[in-house]
């Protein structure tokens, strides 16, 4: 099995609610996977299970051939799977630079608590890493701004830049462009993908905007009611009848029988 990340029969129930049912996905190294689905379809639950935020009710998750099902998030992160959050998670009372220093410092300390007590927060190495990240994610002008004062797009970038500090092999982005204006979305994704592609990071990103998905994804996973209803190249998956009916809302036939291409609703 050459897949970097391999998910088999993944299930998650919350009482009566089935948030994930029989999800099977293999992701090879270097792929960029767009995850689509209406709100409540189970996208975040899927991300949460892979990153150890939630323990699956059933099924297995393998990373580099190793079973990581149910490991705590911190351990999964250390193995090389990082994530960003739907609501950007940064340290509001730190500046952008300090946020990046925190991330790079932890990555450099090997994540051990004793190591963290014995290494300096700001060293030549952590600052250099933080400056590199500032540059790669184009946040130079916000270097000394407090994270709590950042525009939404920059806060999202910071969240992602922090997630990549440990050079993860897999990065899961939960709605990186949510809350961002239409005009800024593409620019934001260009910066993110530019920074990540250079490192060969395998990316899974949750996205509602089908134009973005088409532009950036090599492959699309379509979620509906907790399960994957389509999986394939973007054109193929987005053309799937059930995807058009349940997710993109484009299954509106005009008189000449052609499909009306319309932007996906944000439900």
């Amino acid at each position: 099995m050459s897949a970097l990340l391999s998910v088999k029969g993944l299930e998650k129930t919350f009482g009566q609610v089935v948030a994930a049912r029989d999800i099977n996905v293999d992701v090879p190294q270097g792929q960029t996977v767009g995850i689509i689905g209406a709100n409540g379809a189970g996208k975040t639950t899927f991300v949460n299970m892979i990153t150890g935020h939630l323990t699956p009710s059933g099924g297995t998750i393998q990373f580099e051939g190793r079973d990581i099902t149910g490991l705590p998030s911190r351990k999964i992160m250390r193995l090389g799977i990082a994530r960003s959050f739907q609501v950007a998670q940064v340290f509001p009372t730190f500046s952008v630079f300090e946020n990046l220093c925190a991330a790079t410092a932890i990555a450099r300390s090997g994540s051990s608590v004793v190591g963290a007590a014995l290494s300096r927060f700001v060293s030549a190495e952590t600052s250099a890493d933080a400056e590199t990240a500032l540059d790669q994610f184009r946040m130079g002008q916000f270097r000394d701004a407090l994270a709590s004062t950042l525009p939404q797009g920059v806060r999202k970038l910071l969240d992602i830049a922090m997630a990549t500090a440990g050079n993860p092999r897999v990065l899961l982005l939960d709605e990186p462009t949510s809350g961002i204006s239409l005009e800024e979305k593409f620019g934001l994704m260009d910066v993110i993908m530019g920074a990540l592609k250079a490192r060969g990071t395998t990316i899974l990103f949750v996205e509602h905007d089908m134009e973005i998905v088409q532009r950036f994804a090599d492959r699309v996973l379509a979620f509906y009611d907790g399960t994957v209803i389509a999986d394939g190249a973007p054109a193929e998956a987005l053309g799937d009848e059930r995807v058009r009916e349940f997710i993109t809302g484009t299954l509106i036939r005009s008189k000449d029988g052609k499909l009306a291409a319309s932007r996906a609703s944000h439900a």
Partner: protein
Amino acid sequence: MMTGLRILLGAAILGGLGAAAPFTPLWLISLVTLAMSTGLVVCGLIILWRGGLVPFGQALFFATGAYTVALSGRWFGVTDAFLLIALAVIMAALVAFVVGFLLAQYREIFFAMLSLALSMILYGVLVKSETLGSTDGVNVAQASFFGMKPRGPGYTFALFWLALGMVFLAWVGVSAYLGSIAGQLAGAIRDNEIRVEYLGISVTRLVHLKLTISAALAGAGGALAALSISHVDPQMAYWTTSGGFVFVTILAGAASVPAAFLGALLFEIVRTIAVALLPGGWQLILGSVLLLTILFVPEGLGSLMIRKRATISEKGAA
């Protein structure tokens, strides 16, 4: 991190205080020594405080340190002051390491109250146990210093110099810790635990570490207090003792380590004056001081001493 210059300056100030001792009234020297013991505990509270944790039961570790000194002397005949302090620090840290498996799971008011509960258990044990001296406590024999046994005023001086040495070590050590990754992450823990976990480091373990370090300092403070008062009693584990430490932490603020010692000194002085002025109602004066601090200097005296929020890059460049 501290520059060599700052360390030299600190050493010079403490050295100067040490040199002034023979020209200072004994009661004042004892008062300062006692204040330094409180300052050591408060140094530890600063570490927790920065992470948003306020223990209402830090007297647990303070009393552990104090009783370790008293009982090591009584049961095993240990008299060397340095050894006694080392034992006290180790015992207090050990207790914190054990209770930390429980305490480090909690935050905010739950952390505060659980810490209080644990200290009250120790209090109860001390009061009930005849072998541990019950309510009368245990007398502490006069300590020796590398075989030397100063007596009379010489003993008071020796303890004072010992206190200055401990303050110096605590200052250098705690400053280094606060500049470390674990120290700097305190604010991050307070702000956003999820993010810290997802950077790959365990918040629970970080809290556990902070608690253990703070307990070691509280143990050192308790040991110094035991030597300086020559007596330990269950009151040292009582919640009012813990309350006093929190009081001084509010007074001093978490911004600077030297402020912990100045705050402790101010606290001792205010308390001494208050007791002299209003024997039955000194708490009234102490309470008013606390009220004024919270109203007018909410970030503590330390915030008056240092520039507001120097950015970390500047701190790091130093």
